[in-house]
Every structure is written in C-alpha cells, then in structure tokens.
Point group: C2
Chain length 332, copies 2
C-alpha cells in the first residue's frame, strides 16, 4: 500500500492525538514533526525526524509530505501558520474560532490557490462534524434551525480552545475550562419551538485557573470575562485552584455534544434530528477527524483541486479507506 | 430566482411528500407529473400537467425538466425506470433494497454515463442519511462498526418498502408493516462491545394484513415469511385485520431511527456517535431528502459531472440553498 505521508506541525495535545490516530489508520504514515521546541519533542517522541518550525520550508523539501496537519492554537498560531503552510504543501487544520472563520478561510484560500494546494480548514469536532450535521439538518428539514450543545454530562466538557485562551493571559500558569449545556434550552428545541438563543442561553463556562506567583487576580478575572467570543457572551464561573488540584480533579480531555434540529414536514408532521457524540479524549477525537480529512485532502489534490475548503465541500466517501464497491455493497 | 424545474415520476405517498417539500423550498418548482394512472392523479392534483408514463420521452422533450424525481417502488418499478429515465434526464431516486444496490447502481450508471446525465440513486432516509452517518462514523472512529436501528418508539416505525412488498403478494388487499428495534441490541453497542449481529438480532417485523375475499391465508403467511431480504431474516409477526381496523388503528407514516457506532481512540478512550431521527411522516421526510438531492444533482450536472452517484459522492454544501459566504459565516 502506498501510504499517505503526513507532516505534523505542532506537538501539543491535538498533535499527540493525530499521532495515535495515524497508528490506527494503516494507509497513513507520519514522516516528520515541526515544533517550536524540537528538543522537547524529541525527548517524548523520536520515531520520526523532528525539526524547528523555522526550518519548515527546507524540511518540507527534504521529506516531501503529501499533507501537513496543523495542530497549533487558533488564537495565535493558525492565523499565521495557515497561509504560510498552504503555500508549501496541502494542509488540514482545526481552526476553531467560529467568528473569524470567514477571514481565515480567505487568507488560507488565497495562499493555497496561488500555490496550487488543497487546504482543508476548521475541521475536527466543532467546527467540523457539527458544522456538517447543522448544514444537513437545515437542508433536509427546510426552516428548522440547527443548534449545537456541549458538555451534556454532569462534569461538562473540557474545551481545549477555551483552555488555551485562558493560558495566554499574563499571570496564568495553567487553566482548564469546562463547558456546560443548559438542559432547559435543549428541551425548548425538542418541543419544536425553534427558539432564537443568544450563546449565553445555551451554555455556561466554568474556568479552573492556576495563578503564577504575584499574578493580579482581579485583572485576570476581568480579562477572562471580557474576552470577546470566548467568554464575554457567557455566564462564566472562575475558580482559582492549585496546580495539584487542577491535575488531580480536572484531568483528562473528556467532551461530548449534541446537534439538534426540530421542524416539520408537509402540514405540521414532526421532523427532528439529533447528532450526539461522546469522546473520552477530545484531542484524540479531533486527531481522528483531522487524519480522515488528510486522506480527503490528498485525494482532492490528486484530482487537481486547489484552494481552501471545509468539511462541507468534501464528498463523504473521500474520508474513508473503503472503495466504491465496498461502500455500495455494505455501507449504503 | 431561476428555479430548478422538477418532473415527478410516480404519484404515491413519496410523490405526495415530494410535492409538499417543493412547496417549502423556494428555489424549486414542480413542472409535471408522470403516472401510470394520470386520470386518477388529475382528480387529486392538477396544478401541473399530468401525463401517462408511456409518454415519458415526449413529455420530457416538451417541459424540459432539470431533474426527475423517481418515486416508484424499489421492488418492481425502479429497477426498470431508473435506467430508462437516466437516459432522458438527470434523476434522483430512493431505491431502498439494500442488497441489490450494487447492481442497480451499475445499470443506472451505464445509462447515465452514456447520456451524460447525473443520477443520484438510493437516497432518502435509509439508504441515504443513514448511509452517510454510517460512513462518517466508520471514517472518524477507525475500527468502530456502525449500526442502524428503526422503530425505537413504542409503536415502532412504519416501513413503506416492506408495506409495499406485502401489497405485491397475490391475495393481499392492503397491508402495513411496523419495524421494531430490539433494545438489548442497542445497549450492547453502547457498552462498546462492537457485536456481530445478524439482521434478526436487531429488529423484529410486525405485519398487519388485509386479505382479499377468498385469499389463501396459509400461502400468504408462507410467502411473507420466506420473502428474501424483506422478511426471511427476521422474527416476523403477521396479523390479519379488516380494512377498517388497518385504517383506524395503524394509520399514518410515522418512523424513527438511530445510527450508532462506538469504539475507542488512542489507548482505549471512549468514542461514540449517535444519529437519531424522528419523522411524523416518513414519506414527507423522504420527499425532503429527495428534493435536496435534486438541488445537488442539478448543480453537479451543471459542472459537467455525469453517471450514477450516491449521497456519499456529494459535497454536503450542494444540498443547501445557502452560499459559501453564508455557510462560512453562520454554519461552520
């Protein structure tokens, strides 16, 4: 089997998830890692060459990956890395700042079109699977709104994007953010009321923050509560904890969610769809989705396609290793 | 707005569902109906020209539809009509005899390729939405099996395909078939056991049959129980009822279902997805899905694509009226 050669850009939680996913996909092969701290990465993982981010262009010329999976953060890393790497190679990323997706799409699309590469942006769990389910629900139940909920379980779901955002605040040593769905909001939708929600009606946010010595606690609270997009629109609870408490009580990366849409067909017959997912490890789940999109990106590039695209632009059969005969025979 | 012109082929329950769906999709326009019994149809619906099936070619030349939605039965109608219409116009159908999809795909594909048309086959609820969810689950959770269940509610779900199959049996005046999920089977999957099921482990089938005068009851029972694909693999209950009882107690077309897949990521972290849908009217839901696929078929044909395809071959954005800017801004 001719394997798809993957370059990993950024070795954090999602990057580790991607490596585990590649091991479960026999048509995929990790061929190299780019990191801001290559020496740190080599201590943990040295099965493939690891180089500094500054050597990207030379490294790509050397190892010739089919596709790069970009695992940097959405707040500071991807807005710069996305367009840079789209010039060098086909890319897949999980840019997850919803309100900035249009401008991110444009900057990556310009770079990918100019270079003749395929760049799949903003995929993973949400945006990604949930975007797809929202659009399908809206297309197949005309007039139904599609809603996304997160953290339906008792402990809520750990949001990596929001945890990363907390950690960028000066004075924060470490932090984790758990998202909680508002159950009453889900019931309103199931009753077919198609409510108009503000983000804060659907979720609350619970932060566990470890301070650096001498940090300005009040200023940090104010910074969190006023962070646009991430926290400003939500009822946000901020708890200051020790590193030990964070590591023992709030460990792991569990997450879960629900896309739900309810409307009607014909003369008022009920029409309702729900997509539920439960992940023991959010970054490993995201890694799986990114790897399946890497498979699709390489196929699309082989067909001569170029430019930025999202999960909405990709035929679902491109995500799987199964061929058409197998899909027709056993999966339809 | 330049509307997509739809020819409806076959005016049964699904055909009526398609007409109701077109009314809810402002970019779609019904331009004609072909029926085996045009005079019967005209009595019920005369907003557009209605012609006999035998006049198909002349009618299509006259009204020049962008796409035909084929609403005949999968057992006897579509195997003949699918390839015939694929030669004349772009088509969409809901052929739902899973085990015969590969051969049906081939016969429609040959015709569509030769004529330069797009023919989307086997779409609706299942095959269709469920096929898509199965493939996505398998692609995004490597190693997880995806399972489909139907009729999770107390009354079960009315299967149109199986009801149609019952009605083709000599001596049967009318019939309805309700499918029931086996709850224990669903729980096994939620526990992550990835069981190997035979079809009969997952569902039971409950038939309500009205006999014609003088019909051979024992022979009908034997015919039902031995019908390959439809009933032979299942625990099947057969109840003989009067037409009045059928019409009052077992009316309507409710159905519901669940696609579920459970596996793991990395070193054993839970990964589970579930797609649940509930339809007050199964044929209206199928009509909605067919109309969204008609939109996609016309777009694909405009791009020069040709041949048979399934929901797995179509980028999800093609199903919606929303443009890329709107999708990036509000739906990702």
């Amino acid at each position: 089997m001719l394997k798809t050669k993957i370059l990993l850009v950024g070795y954090g939680n999602v990057g580790r998830g991607v490596i585990k996913s590649i091991a479960n996909n026999p048509d995929m092969e990790l061929v190299g890692i780019l990191s801001r701290s290559p020496e740190r990465v080599k201590k943990e993982f040295n099965a493939v060459p690891v180089r500094a981010m500054t050597e990207a262009e030379a490294f790509i010329s050397e190892i010739r990956p089919d596709v790069a999976i970009l695992c940097g953060g959405s707040k500071d890393d991807l807005p710069k890395q996305g367009p840079v790497f789209a010039k060098l190679v086909n890319t897949v990323d999980s840019f997850d700042n919803h309100s900035r997706i249009p401008e991110y799409f444009k900057s990556v699309n310009d770079a990918a079109l100019a270079a003749g590469h395929v760049s799949v942006i903003s995929t993973g769990w949400d945006p990604g699977l949930f975007s797809l389910q929202r659009v399908l629900a809206g297309a197949f139940i005309p007039g139904a709104r599609a809603y996304g909920f997160y953290g339906l379980g008792e402990k809520g779901g750990l949001s990596m994007g929001h945890s990363d955002a907390l950690r960028t605040i000066p004075g924060v040593a470490d932090a984790r953010q758990f998202t909680h769905a508002v159950p009453e909001a889900i019931e309103t939708i199931r009753r077919g009321e198609n409510p108009v929600f503000q983000p804060g009606d659907m979720h609350t946010r619970e932060c566990f923050v470890v301070l650096k010595p001498g940090a300005d606690r009040e200023k940090i609270v104010e910074t969190i509560r006023s962070m646009p997009g991430y926290f400003a629109p939500y009822k946000t609870t901020i708890n200051f904890v020790s590193q030990e408490e964070l590591d023992s009580k709030y460990k792991g990366f569990p997450h879960d969610g629900l896309v739900i849409a309810a409307g009607s067909t014909g003369n008022g017959n009920q029409a309702q769809v729900e997509f539920r997912c439960i992940w023991g490890s959010n970054p490993e789940a995201t890694g799986n989705v990114l790897v399946a999109h890497a498979r699709a990106a390489v196929r699309l590039a082989a067909e001569g396609r170029k430019g930025a695209m999202t999960i909405l632009d990709i035929p679902p059969s491109y995500f799987t290793q199964l061929d058409r005969d197998e899909l027709l025979k056993h999966w339809m």
